[in-house]
Amino acid sequence: MEENHLEESINTEEVVEENNFLPSSISDEEKGELFRELTTILSRKWLKEKVTVFGCSELDLLLATRFDIQTLRETIEEYKSFVQILGLNVIEYDMNGEKWYCLRSSHYAPSDLQSAELIVLGTIIAYLEDDKQKPITTEKIKEKLVVTGKMKEYLVENCLRKLTRLGYIKKQQNEWEYNYRTYIEFGDEEREKIVEEFRRI
């Protein structure tokens, strides 16, 4: 019995040692290199299943760094405070049930979108925030923007396609929904303000 107990205690010590392996053993120089690489990885933009995505998934980071999950998260926490000085934030977002990381500006910065795309996106946000139960179809958006003569039909359709490709919205069974990017770039308060502004048009 005593022998078993001793073996168990040795095993526990080994586990503790393994857990402490990183990041305490990473030298400052190695950490600097890791942070530089993280900046490059998290600021990349690419296409995934015809939708623009930013940064990197947690799984890819695990495979690239060969860290365990706890170490990776601790490293990212440290990296967060590192980039905060530069006016950037590390944002976590969900993509098909998988955790992703990307970088976002801490304050206002120029947006990718043109005025027409912002109007269409603002309209969708206003409708979705006003009543989440009511479905938002393309017809409803056109009713507000095209029928009233505010925008041309082809322009609205073009904007919807671009917003889908850029990861702001997605279509589920003929109804429009937010995609990950709207949640990242527009907080709850901002979306509420858009609803108020929308009433004026």
Partner: protein
């Protein structure tokens, strides 16, 4: 007689009046309460109360503060006045918006959405390196296929490109030998950038690249000359290795 005296005097008269007419006080508070509800609801729903109606309501309760006895009643009264101000702002904003053309209102909406957006930060640009430039340098060489001499000369000239690439696996000992050969050939010497292509085989160029990436050899480019140095100090960070594109003229077999 000052204004203050007049107010004090009139308030004394009113307080006497209030005491005599308690029902009237209750009615005034009820009126304030009803108006507070009305304006609170209108502001919440952004419904504009007409200016005349709003002025009538305000004049109805303009003296109500004189009848408010408890703190709760006074707060209700001041809150109603705040709602009058909010309603006025709402009315003015609505009027200003009506002066804008629809496309101006749309633009203002787009600007507002843009100002509320905190975008993702990323590096823009294409994700692939373009290979177009080297291909543009390609030139054609026309030879007379009837002339055997011309064909032989052509084959001799481009012998390197016609040879099949052989896959050669090396063990650690062989790699070490090649590494030593490279070090003997290059380290501590200044070699012209163009001449180095004749000195190395393709295999040696590969191993040299490996040695440089492993920081076992450092290359410094000084004009057209390459200076090779051996096992430099890690602390020297002000100088970094130069990247040089090599195109060795000798094939692998030449080293055997």
């Amino acid at each position: 007689m000052t204004d203050r005296d007049i107010i004090d005097e009139s308030s004394d008269i009113i307080s006497t009046y209030i005491e005599e007419n308690k029902e009237w006080v209750e009615t005034t508070f009820q009126l304030v309460f009803e108006l507070k509800r009305k304006y609170g609801k209108s502001i919440r729903k952004k419904e504009i109360v007409k200016l005349i109606e709003s002025e009538e309501d305000r004049s109805k309760v303009s003296d109500a503060y004189l009848y408010m006895q408890s703190k709760k009643e006074s707060i209700m009264d001041s809150s109603l006045y705040e709602d009058f101000i909010k309603m006025n702002e709402l009315r003015e904003n609505d009027l200003l918006e009506q002066l804008l053309y629809p496309h101006e209102r749309l633009k203002a909406f787009a600007d507002k959405v843009r100002s509320l957006c905190i975008p993702i930060t990323y590096f823009s640009g294409t994700t692939q390196t373009s290979y177009e430039e080297p291909l543009n340098d390609l030139t054609e060489e026309v030879i007379d296929l009837a002339s055997i001499d011309e064909i032989e000369n052509f084959l001799k000239k481009y012998k390197v490109f016609l040879e099949k690439l052989s896959i050669k696996s090396l063990d650690k000992g062989e790699i070490l030998n090649i590494e030593n050969t490279i070090k003997d050939k290059l380290v501590g010497k200044k070699i012209n950038k163009n001449k180095i292509n004749n000195l190395l085989t393709t295999l040696e160029a590969e191993i040299l690249s490996k040695l440089i990436s492993e920081k076992k050899i450092r290359v410094i480019m000084n004009n057209d000359e390459l200076i090779f140095q051996n096992e430099f100090d890690d602390e020297e960070t002000d100088v970094v290795s130069s990247s040089v594109l090599l195109s060795p003229k000798n094939s692998i077999d030449a080293s055997d």
